[in-house]
Amino acid sequence: MPDGAAPVLDVKGLKTVFRTRSGEVHAVNSVSFDLRPGELLGVVGESGSGKSVTMMSLIGLLPSPPAEVRRGQVLFDGIDLLSADDDTLRSIRGARIGFVFQDPMTSLNPVFTVGFQLMEPLRRHMGMSKARARARAAELLELVGIPDAASRLKDYPHQFSGGMRQRVMIAMALACDPEVLIADEPTTALDVTIQAQILELVKELRRKLGMAIIWITHDLGVIAGIADRVMVMYGGQVVEHAPVRELFENPQHPYTRALLETIPTVRGKRAPRLRVIEGQPPVLGAEPASCPFRPRCGHALDICARANPPRVPVGPAHDAACFWNPETGGPRDV
């Protein structure tokens, strides 16, 4: 993937807060990243780590209230999406930035035919006539590998299996040839064999269409198979960010390291006992003043309690937000 190309999406210092009746929840804190044309950026994290909220914040999909994007800048094609008005956002959503969501069962409207839902973005953004949109919708279904595409346009979502529905979702996201596709845990709800099908499909579509993809998941295995770069999130912030191979071979943040050790595999050696990250993920009632992973971290230093570590480069195109240096076992020079 071209390393030097200008990013299609450039996120700087994003901060999103939920206002709840029991106070504020700082779900996303100072998240910055960029996405280059044609690359696949994997975002890994557990529930509550802020990965979905980050992506939804980009494009104004969070319900407000309770969500509120406090700070930051999201540059897409020279436009700051955070300060753009609703109409601009709407003309970008679905046209230039496509979305695929986790649960294909609930993400499609049950009372409209698949064809109708597929044609909507085509008619809205490309101004196609009904007939042309229908033809294009059939093409799209074919593209995502749904057999007998033209006749299935008349079917309702519940007549498709889970895997097929996710294909429909992908077709819908790709309808207007977006530059960016944001996939939020698109295979989590699927069985492994179906997940494998979808992963193959995405790889192939990337080859054919060449859009940039942000792939959100909690499954490191999935990331390992498809991503170019990986961003690990914890407690609403990016804790580590590296090219995929670098991350798996040379993880720097204790959380990434623990995560990699925790996961059992079906191949290779079977560990007699699983590594465990003790404790629970944090809840951010305020802007974190210390490292959010500190209570669960086996390498916590004094400084971790006093400051929230910034992201520092630890290798080529590799940065981590941690005071601890795995090589020395002591503090990192920041």
């Binding site: 969501f101 993400s107 049950p110 009372v111």
Partner: protein, 336 residues
Amino acid sequence: MLNYTIRRLMFTVPVLLFISFIIFLLLDLAPNDPTGNLPMTIPPEVRQQIRESLGLDQPIWVRYLLWCKQFFINEPLNIIEQWFGIQIGDGDRLRVRSWATRSPVVDLIVERLPQTLWVVGMSYVVGILIAIPIGVVSAYRQYSWFDQIGTFISMVGFSVPTFFTGVLMIVIFSVWLGWFPSIYDTTLVVEDWASFMQQVRQMAMPVFVLALFNAAQISRFMRASMLDNLNQDYVRTARAKGLKERTVLLVHVLRNSLIPVVTVIALNVPQVFGGAIITEQVFKVNGLGQLLIIGIQGADIPLVQTLTFIFAVLIVLFNLIADILYGILDPRIRYD
């Protein structure tokens, strides 16, 4: 879907028979007596003769069976004859007769249907037309001033009895302003613009009063249903497609939210026919509700039995229609 419909339809037969028996029994036990409203000058012996001439001294099961035969066999045949102008059998069938008017009950009902449909039906339609937008906006702007005011008005509409709002409107619009007539003219035939306007004017107040009442309930349902659907994943999908907020709301959310509401609307239709008793009374729209109340007050048992049974049939029927509508609106059920 067809099987389902047929199955439900078949199921209604025993239910209806049972309901008919209960209704018959209930009305027969009721202490009302058709001679109750006769003037005091008619001596008791004459009253007794009148009662006997009405067949009141027969055992109850005989009267039930006769009534069943009448209602399920003879009356439908009569109606068919009337509609198609054909003669089935000897045509000299007995009719279910009202005690007060001595005329066939079915004829009375047919005569009453137009005004009930016009006024009460129209008010229901108007109520729905008001309620749905209010429900939609209230839900979309939950806890906004619009929502608060909408809630307030619908609660007032729900909680103030129509005998009060009706009279209030008459005093304001008929007596003080003289805009609308206070008495509904059931004989008015709409044939030109003037008579049409007159019809509109005389319908205005009863339709408004009832519509307010209906709208109050339906808008509450609509709001709740919209709120349920607004948080669904597919709404997010629709937004992610860059659809206009209007489209998201009016196409995606509305269609889904309407499913339970349409069921509620269908289930309440039978009340349209019988539930507007007080409003009909207040505005002198002599429709089915007024017929029922006259029947009850005058202890016109055949009339009340037939009317209530027709309402029962309607309730069962609209239960069925609600189920079928549900199927039509919700494809998930349609293909089950």
